[in-house]
Amino acid sequence: MQRRACDILIVGGGGAALYAALRACDANPRLRILVASKGLLGKSGCTRMVQGGYNVVLDPADSFDKHYDDTLRGGALINDQELAWTLVTQAPDRIFELENAYGCYFDRNPNGTIHQRALAGQSFDRTVHRGDLTGIELMGRLCEQVLLREIEILNEVRGLELLFDRSRRAICGALLLDHHSGALVAVKAKAVLLATGGAAPLYRITAASLEKSGDGMAMAFRAGAEFADMEMMQFHPTGLRAGDSALTGTVLEEGLRGAGGHLLNACGERFMDRYDPARLERSTRDRVSRASFLEIRASRGSPEGAVFLDVRHLGKEFLLKSSPGMYRRCLSIGLDMATDLVPVTPTAHFQMGGIRIDTRCRTSLEGLFAAGEDAGGVHGANRLGGNGVAESMVFGAIAGDALAEHAAHAALSEPDPRRLEEIAARLERPRDGRGSACALRREIGSVAWEDLGIIRSAASLARAATALDAFEEKVDLLPIPGARGGNSVLEETLNIRNLIAVARMICRAAALREESRGSHYREDFSETSPGGLYNIFLRRDEDATIAADVRPVRFTRRRPEELALETVIPGASVEAVPGLSEKAP
């Protein structure tokens, strides 16, 4: 086992991780900062894949109050109101920094002011973007800034477990696994940030970057941290359905529905008129996903399980201007959006639930911080498009500042040697078991999709709970051939173990919430209950069971009655977007 020490350990390589590293470094350039990224820094994770953009109040006609109310309404009123307020009020400073300090190129209006568009659920055009491939811009610029600073990067080194000090009270580092050498690396740190991303790839069909497996959440769960809103998982309604290709599940951006795209079932019916006749395809992500799922389940989808996105009437010129990246992506699989129907399926997209944090990104464990998708509470029961990457930037920055502050007065501690030994012993267990990691992963994905997914019930959740127990036994029997270095089977086994830990929390919270709210839909409790304004907090007990605590939402800034009205969506405001179009075919 290798041993390292640093001031700040950041586990993760996406937007929140990079932002935290930059801010911590700039707060105090003498800090020794170590970033351990499971994939390549800045190339793994989901910030890269952001299409729509970043929600921020910049126009004098817009306001924090409007953005805030949209966010709470979108979240079905159970957001942590302080976290959501932090998101809204700090979003502008991060855009100024991304533009002026880190050099991002955001699309402009012809007069040179920044261009903002509206995604679903917004009362104002407040999404800053670069074409429909905003993530490349953000991550490209953040990466180069990280490369140019004294920040040590460990590429393809994943977090395995958090380490406690001898008092077993505070987190004092983490145990990492170097993919290439197979070395275990015990890192002592004054402060640890988890920013590894969520667990949407738990599901058979997902939009997320496929290397993600909720590692940060699973590590925090095993260490006993408290979680919030774990029943809340967002499904995006228009994931591409491309047979057995890895492209299946990748998102076709929301702007296509916003601009007037239709959804058709296999009979050619515009089925949204049966589910939400007023808003049709412009309804919220959860409702459109549910409708598509039900159509497919009722055998009104295509044989491979898809409905169809029809944007033919919008015309080639418009599509090329508004969604050049999506147009090119479809063309590359032989579909011309201007003349062809595009097969789509709901796809697991974003995890609202996560590690409970405060407005300084502190978790319930001393020395442990979380940001981005690892953390829960900002989005409540449903995230608005454009609020996800804003969260990564805003809370990544807060985490960076908080880590630097914490490191300034904390000391390095020796990890509890017993825990280190236990973890190492588990990795060294006999490797000649049975089963296949890939097959087990597929099995878990199917169970999650059918029973823990878009539509749930007491019966489906009981089935899932039983299945997860069985998976937990199976994963310990998986054979792991060969040495630990460069071993994709070992990596997949670790992924599966983490996904099961997250799935168990989702299952437990979903069973407790006996109503439907936001992205959580119970067939057996299909209405939103006025008594449902609570959050479910989970943590792992000493005996490995999950303890739950249900607490009422704290209405520190808005009462529910103040938010009784629906968000007023301005008329179709999706216009031609400057940028990128000249590169499209």
């Binding site: 793994s44 300090a101 402009r108 007069n111 990466c143 496929l210 491309a242 890895a246 492209l247």
Partner: protein, 230 residues
Amino acid sequence: MTRHVILRVKRANVASTQRDFDVPVPTVAGRVLDLLLYAREYLDPTLEFRYACRVGMCGSCAVTINGREALACESSVAELPAGAVLEVAPLAGLPVRRDLVVDLDPFLATFIHAEAGLKPRQPRLREVPVIPPGGAERALIERHNGCVTCGACTAATSRLLGAAGTLGPAALNRVLMLALDERDAKGHERLARVAGDAALAGHDTLGPIDELCPVGIPLSAGLRELRTRL
């Protein structure tokens, strides 16, 4: 019936340097990435390659496919006839870690050497500056933006022209963008650093390298533009 092709993987750091996998072509939208995933899942769990986003945004999966650099996730196999041989090798000019996985650090070091990141004039400005998109500089930046740092162009430069004395087109492309960027404070210093670059001195066009960029950045035109600014 499912059509099969031969996926020939040039492997390094294992006993045999080449291995053929008999793999089915997905019925819809098959990519080279799908063939690699199939080979690893069903034929050889030790096969190592990189990927993450699967939609051409992360640039992790650049490899050499039939002698040409490309992203595995964007390279269609739909047109391959049954029994065709598709040869996949690691990127040229970079140390191979295992199978198709190269050490990208020397490539990333080209950006560090070029100081290819904004050195801001006004880092603490608390507004978004008004910059009309129609200006000549901005229009040029727009054409050269969108790099996913996959390394394809730099690997091809090393393969076709030799790596000696050049940072490669990717880092130089970013230097050009920064030279055009009114927010940057390091323009001349950065240009001076790359003034002796072999790619700038030697070539009017990068020839086939121009066609390789997965996001369509006009690399040769960029080098010519950069030369005029030295």
